[in-house]
Subunit: 366 residues, 2 copies
């Protein structure tokens, strides 16, 4: 696979390279959408917390880490049930090295962080098995669009990430309702990807509203409202508002394909100014297929930060190589932005060194 | 008085010119702090609403006007008891002409606007006569400071304005508690400036907490907590966070002197990167003395947009020349920013033309 800096040009190589070239030396803003849902608390769905109930604290703790360098709403940092620390450690390293500001956006948090954040009216999401997942999706999308327009007048480009437990299951829900077959293709923060459980949860939600595969292909906000999550209208609104004027890097794994489907249905022509930024671990993931889902939606470039934690002295970082965590809190996109802003001065090696420094300080010696 | 573009160099001419020169052609962000207090509802204190109870709707309506071009939380636009429309009409004209983005910050609104806004944890303010005016001033200041730091990494400079009814009375409160004699010197949105009422309200608040003139000279947050308003820690925090890196234009009338006193007490050296931006009407106001108050605090430049509505075809705009409204929603600072961004292409004449256009469309023909 071709590379530019330490960034893999995964799909649409030529457009990917052109997109990346536009970012070199430019000034980005990292926007982090943060929410929780009852879907994320279904046993076995998410590893974004030591146990399901604590997932409400993961998004605010993640963003505190980015803005304050430590969590305030919890002790320590968020961890998976196996004790692997939050990917926000990687994002804070990328943003710190490249001096990139991070703006939190409330995309339905139940616990609010001890830092400033942008409010667009999103509420915590429900359990998609009820078929009533998101309130006020239209209103929230409109306000987020206004925020995206505003932000597009301040910086050269946006990198938008997310922290919402259970997000790949709700992504599967929206993709299915919109007629994009993603069964067995969404990734997972869990070491084993619980595809069967995700499919079962989605099917229960669709059944509750008598929605068949593809019924909502032309009504993405209905799909989000029934079987999505509140991060989606916030994220999609930001893209719709900003991409008219500046490039937008959608930072995440397979969740990004659901956002892509929503944006594509609402204003496809904006996608010429959009790319997906993720990690090598998502691309290498045999249990998922981001490229496959995206190619069914739109021809946007996929870029992947060529992060490599193989040689790390910390087992909690080597775990990324075994397929745990892989993405979240925009680690791929923020790393790409750091590399692009520094025009290659920040490399996969300097990233690992910085991540290890932060890991040692915040997590300890394991 | 010397001018540069259509901007009066009111105080510290040389520094004012140097400050303004730094802004020419540069990219600003207009940040609007928005709050309400029970102080603002004391009969006769504020003209920011047709009657005291409706002042809760004025700040959200003002910011809706800036972001949406119309108010959503009320019909029409906010007016004074005499029917003079909100100064936000002038701000929207300046921002629109120069394509300057506006970011709302919740500085204690009771009614929330139908637009995105930044949340820093501020709550609506109390009645200063109780001596308990603002909750959590320290926490709010810290979060606003973090927001100021973040914003300073996105644009070339900040213009910070406010919309908070009753703000000159709370300014008098904080100035008095901090030992800066401003009795009879703060301005008013009212046609007759009710100095005696303001002094009586402030004295009642100070007495409730047994605070004498100057007792809190070194504890500005205590002064704010007792007899200030929630806009103050938000505004001061933004200045403290941003002025380390970029110029900050504090946009307002005599209220700005209270913010200046707070910032001066917390980090005086930052004031080298700060100026006050106001209107000719504030400088011409015989019932108040911004220059006099500021000169007792710090040697910052005062700039005044040389707006002139004498020849307007609308009586509601000619009223500005009679001393009604004069400032608010950062009309002076936003006009200065528009003139500076356009390097003089936007003049007092093009401003009046644009204000009249918006007036005709939103208010009518009077």
């Amino acid at each position: 696979m071709k590379k530019m800096l330490d960034i893999l040009l995964v799909q649409n190589e030529r457009e990917g390279k052109a997109f990346l070239t536009k970012l070199l030396g430019k000034k980005p803003l990292f926007v982090c959408t943060l929410g929780t849902t009852e879907t994320g608390k279904i046993e076995g769905i998410s590893a974004a917390g030591a146990n399901p109930e604590i997932t409400d604290y993961t998004p605010p703790a993640d963003i505190e880490l980015l803005l304050l360098g430590k969590c305030e709403c919890i002790n320590g940092v968020p961890v998976t049930p196996d004790g692997i620390p939050t990917p926000a450690l990687v994002t804070m390293s990328a943003l710190g090295l490249a001096n990139i500001p991070a703006l939190p956006v409330n995309a339905g948090m139940r616990i609010l962080p001890h830092v400033p954040f942008l409010e667009v009216g999103a509420k915590p999401g429900g359990d998609i098995r009820t078929g009533n997942a998101v309130e006020n999706a239209q209103k929230v999308l409109q306000r987020a669009k206004l925020a995206g327009e505003l932000l597009s007048k301040t910086v050269d480009y946006l990198v938008i990430g997310e922290s919402i437990p259970g997000g790949t299951t709700t992504a599967l829900g929206v993709l299915t309702a919109m007629g994009i077959d993603a069964k067995g293709k969404v990734s997972s923060s869990m070491p084993g990807n619980p595809h069967d459980l995700k499919i079962k949860v989605v099917e229960e939600g669709l059944k509750a509203r008598k929605i068949n595969f593809g019924d909502l292909a032309n009504d993405p906000l209905a799909a989000v409202s029934c079987v999505g999550d509140p991060m989606m209208p916030v994220f999609a609104g930001l893209v719709l508002g900003a991409a008219e004027r500046i490039p937008v890097l959608m930072a995440g794994g397979t969740q990004m394909s659901a956002i892509l489907a929503v944006v594509n249905a609402l204003n496809a022509k904006l996608l010429g100014n959009v790319a997906i930024g993720t990690t090598r671990w998502i691309i290498a993931d045999k249990t998922a297929d981001l490229k496959g889902i995206v190619s069914k939606i739109a021809d946007v470039p996929i870029l992947a930060a060529d992060l490599d934690f193989t040689g790390s002295r910390f087992s909690g970082l080597r775990a990324y190589e075994a397929g745990v965590v892989k993405e979240g809190v925009g680690i791929g996109g923020s790393t790409i932005a750091a590399m692009a802003k520094s025009e290659g001065a920040i490399t996969k090696h300097s990233m690992l060194k910085e991540v290890e420094k932060n890991y040692a300080q915040l997590v300890g010696s394991n």
